[in-house]
Symmetry: C2
Subunit: 341 residues, 2 copies
């Protein structure tokens, strides 16, 4: 426990206006704020990496959702990992590595309970605690195994499969004994990664033709599990190609996050009855308490053994956070997108 | 075990052409066929009641579904209850009451294994084995308790609530401790039945205005469970009004059975992610082996104690089966629609 009465300066991104459709750089601004001296029980953390994630787009709208919208004129928040640089708490010491949700800034400060100490992994950057050992991978693990209840032998379809969540979901499916793993992505380069790097059995570029036709060709005996990162025509295609008793874990709908009009839903929902299908949306944080330890043990083991591969796209500099966020929404990342502060 | 080498005549409904949109009487014809003498192990049954159900409309299409489509020029099938009038099997005796799936005819015949002996209920017609003690009620029980996992205190919304399945679903919700039970129906008379006869807390006529507005007014604190008998705008409304963690059991989509173009799906499916919602289509027969005994014990008990009320609409005469079927699709029945042979 160090003691400091010093103030500090934090550079923070604020939301200036609510985007209508695609966010623009003008919807954000980078400001400097002076942080008060640490109060009793508080810590100050120098962020090393901050995360940009699809769900953040939803929080920029003023709509009812599972978390409150971001406030206008307030600092944005999100996953981050950093080092404790000052502490007025017995729970955390200077030098500790912590993960927390006060991202979009370089220096974060608050009660120690809001920061979770994590162990550095030898030979890997601390950003792994945002991605392959963090919420990103837990989303893949929970969605595939708890929500969609994947069984050995199942044919699994993952959309957005070259992304941070999708690339891990496909690998977990393979490691857990899926019979066939199929992924979609938005470029030939990404599709190549699916089979060559992440161990998918087949992949297709959704821009090359109707998703339903490409999916049916890639999974000629139908699919049993669908891990949905995109919504829209992918979900309709999955419903069409599902075998009886198929289960879809709905993780996000990046295809519609920036839509200004609500898009029509799948035209084939009546197949949910006819084939006994399940569609389950999920918020990973609801599952963390019950399943977090099992996730960390299994995925940590695969990471150490080298059975699980991951990619990161690292954008250097806090001032480029908005660029990174917009690039992620456009699909310019491979694997997890993070900003090195 | 009786012995007979006699032939018999059976009047049977055949599907002549596949309906496009609403079925017409010309799509069906009533024929007389001569039944062969009973083979070893077979029984002959005189049907007392045959069932007409929404799912039969789906089987008239030549589409992939959970059961094969009806064959053109073949006798239609469906739930029925009748008495054994001749038996070449040790398993069933003349006079036994049986339920089976060889409906749409007056005399049925086949291997005894296709007929299930049921106990007559004193004071009640044998048609109860098609409705309140049969597949109809099991659909309500399984959908509400197994699929949607209703918990005491939940607010439950049932569409098509004056129908055979819906009226029982609403009563089971109440008997199992739902906090509030809301139903929709298609006429003022049916809506009155919901609260006055079936114990719903509130009901509305979906023809009176937008479903989403009427549902939100009837369930001002949102809904936790939706038992879907109709699909379409009702499903979209339920998604809109669902609380976090809401569950929908999708039993049928009578609103779209006769559509010639696939209707657009709900425009608000992205709320499945944001609120962690579940949509689960189900086929009740998949659940019968595991849950049939528990269903029969619980619902039989409520029926004997008088806690569970049911209605039937009985159409007299096998020759009026198509009229009964079409009337059921138009919502002219209250409770279970059956034909007295």
């Amino acid at each position: 426990m160090s003691s400091t009465t010093e103030t500090a300066v934090s550079r923070q991104w604020e939301l200036v206006s609510r985007p209508s459709g695609w966010p623009a750089p003008e919807d954000f601004r980078l400001v400097e704020v002076e942080l008060a001296p640490l109060a009793e029980g508080e810590v100050r953390v120098a962020n090393e990496f901050v995360s940009v994630d699809p769900y953040m787009r939803g929080r920029m709208n003023d709509a009812k959702s599972y978390v409150a919208p971001f406030g206008l004129g307030e600092a944005l928040t999100g996953g981050a990992v950093g080092r404790v640089v000052a502490s007025h708490s017995d729970a955390l010491a200077v030098g500790d590595l912590v993960s927390h949700d006060r991202g979009w800034r370089d220096v974060a400060q608050g009660p120690a309970a809001g920061f979770r100490r994590v162990e550095p992994v030898e030979g890997l950057p601390s950003s792994v605690h945002l991605g392959v050992l963090g919420m990103t991978s837990m989303t893949a693990w929970v969605g595939l195994l708890v929500v969609a209840r994947m069984q050995p032998g199942d044919t699994v379809f993952v959309s957005g499969a070259a992304g941070a969540v999708g690339s891990v979901a496909g690998q977990i499916a393979r490691l857990r004994g899926a019979g066939r793993v199929v992924g979609s992505a938005g470029s030939a380069e990404k599709v190549a990664l699916l089979t060559e790097r992440y161990g998918f059995d087949a992949g297709f570029n959704y821009r090359d033709g109707p998703v339903v036709e490409q999916l049916a060709a890639a999974a000629p005996e139908g699919i049993d599990v669908y891990f949905d990162n995109v919504g829209g025509d992918h979900l309709e295609a999955a419903i069409e190609v599902f075998n009886r008793g198929g289960r879809a874990a709905l993780c996000g709908a990046i295809s519609v996050y920036n839509a200004t009009e609500p898009p029509p839903g799948p035209r084939n929902l009546s197949q949910l009855v006819g084939k006994g299908l399940l569609l389950q949306g999920f918020i990973v944080s609801w599952y963390a308490a019950e399943h977090g330890a099992a996730f960390a043990a299994e995925v940590g083991g695969w990471l150490r053994s080298g059975e699980l591969t991951y990619d990161e796209t690292v954008v250097p500099g806090l001032d480029r956070t908005v660029d990174a966020f917009l690039g992620m929404l456009r699909g310019e990342n491979t694997g997890k997108m993070v900003v090195a502060v």
